[in-house]
Symmetry: C2
Subunit: 229 residues, 2 copies
């Protein structure tokens, strides 16, 4: 853990992270609402799928998100939290993220799914590293590779290999997704003091958060390359 | 089985149903496309949910449909069928059914889910009864009660208990769903000779089909009563 508490503002707790930290409930809640909204976004965006194969692929991805949601809902209930009330606190921020990054094509949907899923996994996995095993196990479980992303990689790679203009357009789209994700991550953290405190304790200090965002950008670039972008 | 083959038109096979009957592939395919389209319809209709609780409930029902879809897709692949091509044959008929019974309110969606799911289960369960165990097990597995319908019953019962006009409206809606389902079931069967042959062999003869539809109407009435309609 080794939180460099000297650099943290007084506002934040300097105690080591405990499994019953109120921020853990908030972390589970934001993750849970994120999975639920990913489920509905995928189902909505599948309308643009050019084939039955695409609709089947997206439905499976959506169901995998919902299985993660159910894990988190159970974890929230086990902590004695009102799962719906806890999630509702993040509805505005996450819905805004989706509204501001509404894909206009099937390929934009695919890139968004892959890139946003990856960014979320990077962020939450780093936070989970500083949490007690009983908490981090839940987080890692719901962020585990679902095995469906190969479908996305194949769809996007073949499309951008065939079209230079599509590649340029999707490259810009990927950059926009990164920017919006970082903006919204900060907005989400600001929703509840307990969550901000948890993230700060997990990353060490404000510099630690900046370093985390740098690492996320590097991994984002690697993911874009994987898509041929 | 006891197919009363004397009454069947010459067109239809008089042989006992075998697990490798071509109609079994068709049965799995129509069931599979039915589950996939139910998944997407539920996700679409959840937009009308009045609460986060409702959206969570519907997402879980949709994911349960998709789990059934995956069972059928695997069964199709195991039979050496091209799952997507087989399903595509029923896309038109099933999409038409959904288009002709497009709910305009959240309660209409809930009634449709409950009633249509029940009608489909009645129909396929009767057919499955005449099939070899290895086939009927798959059908019964995907039609098994998912445990989510109590959510629907609660939503509808409380709404109709509070409003006489809502009850009258939903009663008419239920009747329309039954009529469309029976029309569409006949249309689906007409898509492929192999499927019509399977259904006829399973029910005995054309009288058997009529009796099946009578039984379905009785069970439909019982389900409507369960909803307070």
């Amino acid at each position: 853990m080794g939180a460099q508490t000297s650099a943290a503002p007084e506002f934040f707790s300097t105690e080591p992270l405990a499994a019953d930290h109120a921020g853990v409930t908030e972390l589970f809640a934001v993750l849970a609402y994120g999975e639920l909204s990913a489920f509905y976004r995928l189902a909505e965006e599948a309308k643009q799928a050019p084939s039955l194969r695409g609709r089947i692929g997206v439905a499976k991805m959506a169901a995998a998100e919902l299985a993660h949601f159910e894990t988190l809902e159970a974890a929230l209930t086990e902590r004695g939290a009102d799962a719906e009330a806890a999630m509702a606190r993040y509805q505005g921020a996450l819905d805004s993220y989706h509204a501001s990054t509404d894909p206009s094509t099937w390929l934009e949907s695919m890139v968004k799914f892959y890139v946003a899923d990856g960014l979320a996994a990077d962020f939450y996995t780093e936070i989970a590293g500083a949490l007690p095993a009983e908490v981090s196990d839940v987080v890692r479980d719901v962020l585990a590779e679902t095995g469906h992303s190969q479908f996305v990689v194949d769809e996007v790679r073949s499309a951008v290999a065939a079209s230079r203009s599509e590649r340029d357009r999707l490259t810009l789209w990927g950059r926009r997704l990164l920017g919006e994700a970082i903006t919204q991550a900060q907005f989400v953290m600001a929703q509840r003091d307990e969550l901000a405190e948890l993230v700060l304790a997990a990353t060490g200090d404000l510099n630690g958060i900046a370093t985390l965002f740098d690492r996320m950008q590097e991994r984002h670039a690697a993911r874009m390359a994987e898509l041929g972008l």
